[in-house]
Amino acid sequence: MAFLKILLDNLRKGPATEAFPFGEATTPDAYRGKVTFDETSCVGCNMCEHVCAGGAIRFSEKEDGLHFLIWHNTCISCGLCAHYCPTKAIKLSNNWHLSHLQEEKYEQVDHAVVPYRECTSCGKRLQPGGPMLHQLAFKGANPRSERLMNMCPDCRRKVSYIGEAV
């Protein structure tokens, strides 16, 4: 008999499920969905590839830069890449709209090129590094540190040793 009251209450409340796809489905901000990648803040440390449990992330070095590749079908949304990324270039969005046809499964790939830089002093090819890394390393920026940021370690040492004149 005690259950009759619960039944009546539930009847009054109506369906407990969401009306999706005819209505909006609530998605929390923290939901771990599709991975997004920002090539401007990637520093090419490859940590995301190292920790990726599903082997969804691949880096390859080519002439024009570091090629980043993620195959969403083998990503398990564990968020380890985002956690270990020092500059937060790789993140998990709350986008869960990942359904697709079977024949499109090998096309669920995002590709980005992280270009190499050139030393502003000697022109040597450098690993990528961006403002995010700069912020992380120096906890702020000034014209001097910004100038040094775009040099290779050798030139940087020279400038620091001889002075700003170089």
Binding site: A2, I6, A30, G79, H83
Partner: protein
Amino acid sequence: MKSFDMPVGPLHVSLEEPMYFRIHVEGEQVAGIEITAGHVHRGIEYLTAKRNIYQNLALIERVCSLCSNSHPQAYCMGLEKIAGIEVPERAQYLRVIADEIKRAASNMFNVAILAHIVGFESLFMHVMEAREIMQDTKETVFGNRMDLAANVIGGVKFDIDEAGAAYVIGQLNRLEPILVKEIIPLYETNASILSRTRGVGVINREQCIDYGLMGPVARGSGYAYDVRTAAPYAVYDRLDVEVITYPDGDVWSRAMVRLREVVEAIRLMRLCLRELPEGPLTAGPLPFIPAGEAITKVEAPRGELIYYLKTDGTDIPARVKWRVPTYMNWDALEVMMVGDRISDIPLIVNSIDPCISCTER
């Protein structure tokens, strides 16, 4: 009286997990059982020695869905022990919150399935709907309904800010009255539930100790063993955890232990959110794990979960081994089932809250 053998399983005995029994029956009564195991062996322990310590966090979490937070927690504790990593206090509190929210959802799931087996579908739906409050909370705070991905080596990778804490407390305030005023009284008084579960699948305290039983199964027989008080980890030593026991050792007692533990989990979560200290979430960026061995244990929703870890100085573990409570609880089915009716088999199997995917990994 006619006696014969009948197969039960391997699919959907009570849960959607493969369990295969050969039941020796005399008339309507169970006279003996034989368990055939190994239907979902996936070689996960072997796989852990083929992946690095970070990848294993995700792999180990996927051993089982319902205790998916306890596995990485025990694994991280082992690595932290080997490397001598001090986990920050805030992370310790957050680990308890992750642990308890999983316990609440897991226990409610099992109790709901009990109603389903009894045939009380509307109660099943009602408990599952209440459990959905916890599922929504997990999705909002951790980003997923089942795999929280809360633990990393040296801390946690989620945070609860002030707004988050207010949200979680609001959700707990929604769940608690439904649980205390509706669900628990129903399981205590409803005639269909009581007639099917009282005095069924009985195991006494001494048999529990003989079989090495753990978790709500042992506590339902009056054996007050809980890792959270026997060997406290994280900050459980400061939380004064109440170990819930029932004396009778039947299907009903085990369900009641689980329900009361949800109430206790709600109290622990509230306490942790109130006392959550400020501070970092992890101990340093990347850990160095030297060669070593460690044994850790945590209280999973099903009982004591033990991890053994051996590392060799690389970031690929040499050996990871775990023992799950279902391993022993499963064996004790031969005590619980004998003498009971054939129709009670699914109820008794469900009452140990079997987790076959953990056990056979």
